[in-house]
Symmetry: C2
Subunit: 338 residues, 2 copies
Amino acid sequence: MEKSVQPTINDVARLAGVSKKTVSRVINRSPLLNDDTRRRVEEVIADMGYVPNPQARALALRRNFLIGLIHDNPNAQMVLRVQQGLLEVLRDTEFELIVHPVDRGAPEMHDDIRLFLERQRPYGVMLLPPISENDELALLCASIGCRYVRMGSAAFDGPDHMVASNDREAVRGALAQLIGMGHRRIGLIAGPHGFRSAHERRSGYEEAMAAAGIDVSRNWIAQGDYTFESGMRAGERLLDLSPLPTAIFASNDEMAAGALHAARQRGLDVPADLSILGFDDTSIASHLWPPLTTIRWPIAPMARAAALKLIGSADKDDDGALFVSTLIRRASVAAPGG
Amino acid sequence: MEKSVQPTINDVARLAGVSKKTVSRVINRSPLLNDDTRRRVEEVIADMGYVPNPQARALALRRNFLIGLIHDNPNAQMVLRVQQGLLEVLRDTEFELIVHPVDRGAPEMHDDIRLFLERQRPYGVMLLPPISENDELALLCASIGCRYVRMGSAAFDGPDHMVASNDREAVRGALAQLIGMGHRRIGLIAGPHGFRSAHERRSGYEEAMAAAGIDVSRNWIAQGDYTFESGMRAGERLLDLSPLPTAIFASNDEMAAGALHAARQRGLDVPADLSILGFDDTSIASHLWPPLTTIRWPIAPMARAAALKLIGSADKDDDGALFVSTLIRRASVAAPGG
DNA sequence: TTGTAGGCGTTATCAT
DNA sequence: ATGATAACGCCTACAA
C-alpha cells in the first residue's frame, strides 16, 4: 500500500521551500512565476504524486470541476452517444461528467434543476433535446451563472450556447432524392407535438414535397410519438390508404422500425412494395431487415464541440462549423414499383 | 431573480440564535439535540431555503456525495439501464451520479481509476461487467477506502459488494425448454474469452445439453465477441454445417441479430427452419423480425439494489434476494421442422 | 516574482 | 444539550 494520506499543497510547499501560494500559482499556470521556481515545484509535485483536491478548489472557487448532462432521456442511444462524445473531450482533463436526468412534464422539474445547479455548482451543463428547447432552463442557467450549451435540431440560441444540426435541410435533401427516384405518394410519420426536431423534420418533408409540386394530402401525414408502437400504428394508418403510398418517411428510426413491422404484417415487401426512410441512424437501423436507409446526424462531434465550449477551449473559429447530417443508404429504399 | 447568494450555515445559526454546530447537528440528524431547538432551527432552514453546500461537506468529511459508475461500455443498453436504476434510488437523495468509463485493456486503466477515486473521493462506486470481474479493481477500491459494488453474472464477491444474476441457470432452463420442444442439434454462439458472462452462459448451454444426453459436437460451438458482425459470421459458420442445426443460442442479442441476419441471407425461415434464442432482452430483441425470444436479466432491480448498498440503506434482509432472469418468449423460437 | 492573512462552508474536538 | 475553536485544502487580496 501507499502512504495512507495524500499530500496536500502544504506538503509540496514545505518540500519545495516555497509558500502555498506559489504552489497554487504553479497549479493554475499563473504567468508571473520564475521559471526556476516553477520547475522546482513541478518536480516536487511529480515526486510526491501530489494531486490538487477538487473539493477544496470547488469550495474556494465556488465552482466545481464537473460537467453536468441534463436530459429527459428521449432515446437511450442518443444519450449514450452524447456521453461518449463529452467524455472523449473530458478524458485527460480534470473534469468529470455528472449525469442528471429529469422528468419533463413534472411540475418540479425546474426546481429540481435549480437545486442541482445551486448545490453541485457544475462548471457547465449540457442540455439535450427536448428539454434543451426550453428557454426558461437556459435563463435559469444564465441567472445562476452556470455555463450551458444546448443541443438541438436548429440554432435557437447564440453560438456559445448552441450546437445544432440542421434537420430540416437534411430531410429536404433526402426526400428530394426519393422524389427523384420516382416516388410521389410519400407518407410522413411525424414526431410528437412540441418537439422542435419533429417540427423541423416535418417542415423538411413539406418543403421537399412543395418544391416538387406534390400536393400533400392531409391523410398522408400520421402522427407518432417517437416510439416503436406509435410508428407501427401510424404505419398501419398509412397502409390503409388507397392507393398505397410508395414510400414512408418516419421522423425517427424507432417509428420507422414500427412502420416496417406494420408493412411486413400486411405481407408487403420492403423495399419492392414500399420504401421506408428513417432518421437518427441509431443502432436499430442497421440491424433491421432490410437494413434501414436513414439520416445520421453527427451526435458525437456535436457533443465534443459542446464539451469544448463548456470547458472554454473551443476554437473561436469553429463557431461557424456546421454539423451536417448525411443520408445513410441501406436496403429499405428503392425506386417505386420495385 | 432571487437573492444572489445562498444562505450559509452561519446565516441560519444567526437567525435561529444558535451556534453553527447546532445547525450542523440538525442537518446531520444528531440524536443529542433538544427537540425544541431542532424544531426552531428546522423552521429557519425552511424559511431561508437553506441547502448545505456539498463541496464544503466534502472537504470537511473527506468524502464526496457522489456515486461513481465505472464501466467499459460493453453495451449501451445495459449501461443506460444501470444508470436509470441507480438514479431512481439516488433521486431525492443528496447523491449524484458521476460516470467514469474506462478503457479495458489500456495499461493505464488501473492508474486512471485510482486517480479518479483519489481525486473525486466518491462515496461509493459501482463496477459494471466486464471490468467488475477484475479483482484488482475491487482491492484498489478497498485499499482507498471507497465503498464498491460489483455487478456480475455470478457471485464472485461478498454480498455487500455484489449484485449478481445467475446466467448459467437461466440458460440451462431456457435450453431445457428448447430441448423439450424437440431440438437436439442446437448451435451455440459463445461470447468472448475472458468474460465471465460468456463463460457462465456457455456453461449453462453445456450443462443443459449434457443433462439431456446430447453430445455437443465441437463445431456446434462458434466463437463471437458480442457484436452483431461476429454473430453474423458465427451464424454463417453454424449454417455451413450439415445437417443444419435446428436452433441456435446466441450468448447475447446483438449476436442473435447477426445470426438472424445470416439465416435470412440464406433464405432460411425463422423460426420454421431455424429457432434463434438470444440473451439480455435489449431493445433490439423486440424490434427484430421475427421478434427475438431471449433471456432477460433484471438489470434495473440489480442497479437499484446496488445503489442501496452503496448509500448504506439496504435492508440487511435482501442480501439473500435473488435476481432471477426470465425467458421472454417471442416468435423466433418454434418446434423443429415447424 | 513571492509571501501573508483571511475566507470559502462545513464538521470534529473538546469544553461547558 | 450546546458552543468556541480549530481543522479541511485551496484561492483571492493585498503587501512586500
